[in-house]
Every structure is written in C-alpha cells, then in structure tokens.
Amino acid sequence: MQADEPRPVGVARPVVEASTAVDVEDWRAAVRAACRPLAAAGAVDDRYAERCIEIAEEHGPYMVLAPGLALAHARPEDGVHRLCLASATLAEPVPFGHADNDPVDLVLAFGSPDDSSHLRLLQAVAEHLLTGLAETLRETPDRERALIVLTDVVQQM
C-alpha cells in the first residue's frame, strides 16, 4: 500500500484502515464499524471493539475527545497484534452519551501491542487533530482518500 522507508528500529509500521459514510444505529455499532477493518487486517481480534464498548459502559464515554469526535481504544491485552489506526466517518451522527461533545460523526480507533509502541503514533494523531485532521476526514467522501490522509499522518510519526 505504501513505499517502504526507514523507520527507527523497533517501531513497526502501523496498520492503517478507513471507512467512510458508515451507516450505524448507535455508538456501539460506530465503535464496531471503526474497528472492523482492523480486525479484518489481523491487527486486532474481534473482541477489541467489544472491550472498547465494555470500558465505555463501565466508565462512561471516555473515548469522546472533542465535539463530534471519538477515539476508541482499549489495552494491549485486549487482543492487539499490531500497532494500528483507523477512521470511520458516519453517514449520520450518533450520541455517545457525552455531556458536551455529542453527537459523534467521526470515530478514530487505535490499538497498541504494548504500553509504548503507540506513543509516537498518538503524538502524530494529536498534532494533526490540532491542525484540522478531523475536519479533513469529515470532508473526505471516499475510503481511498481517507486512507491517504491517515497514511500521511502515520508517516510523520
């Protein structure tokens, strides 16, 4: 999918996936939709999405970071095989039960195989979120373009 280029030793290239205009009935389906391509790619197990949902059921909508934006994630031991990042834009926004930031129309998901592999990935994601990544993904109608946008983000990690 992308050209090989040097990367610091020990930092694996993340698996990147995207889906756009996804029809979901509720926030649980939105989390599953964001994680599904990562499971299909073998980066996480199917139970990873379910674990993200369980954590939110237990602690509240921890994954909702900003108006309209969720970042689904759980722990390495919840079935992560490879460092990975995915986005799902929703055809219609759905409430996640967050007091200030509902409804959500963009769900990002990441998984890390250990407690440190994701640090640079998330740093890159956070920097890009501060400079319009969410808006870019929302305005991106097709999956291929969304993939290009996310691939660009992870290449800067």
Binding site: A66, H73, H98, L122, A126, L129
Partner: protein, 102 residues
Amino acid sequence: MNQTGPDRELRVLTVCGVGMGSSLILRMNAEKALSSLGVAAKVEHTDVSSARGMKADVAIAQGLHTDELAGVAPVVIAISNFMDVDGLRRQLDEALRAQEWL
C-alpha cells in the same frame, strides 16, 4: 509537609479510563499549556484505577472521572474538549493562581 511552589517542578497527572490514549493526548496538551505558562512541570499519564493510588499537585481528566480523583491532587481539572489547548491553559492558569503557585 509537601510544599508546592515555584521552587520545584509541578507534578501533574493526566488520567483516563484506559491509560493509553486519552490520557496521553491530554499529557501532550498539558505539556504545551504548562510550557506556554512558563511552569516547570513533570506530566505523567495513567489510568483512573492506578491514579487513585498516586499523589500529584494537579490531576487533569475528563469530567466523568474527576469525582474519583478528589484524593489524588489538591487541584483537579475537568476537560471536555481535548483539542482546546488554549482552554486548558486558561483552566491551569486560573487554578495555579488560586493556589498561589503562579
């Protein structure tokens, strides 16, 4: 006595339910905000269960966790928009001034 002041680094804890993602993004934003305030700080990120056994000067978390952090730090800051670094800077500025740490 655990005196906090400009004489030593501020200990800051950013907290989320999992301790992997939200708290890490919060840590990066807190480091940005504190640096723009000129505050020397050591910022660590963790999950809410581990945080309960830790001590800090300032704890920063989503509103849904702040009740659980009352014993962790004298200053607890609730965040609703992780992308609003300026807002976090204002909250920190106000809270640190109230403690006379700034």
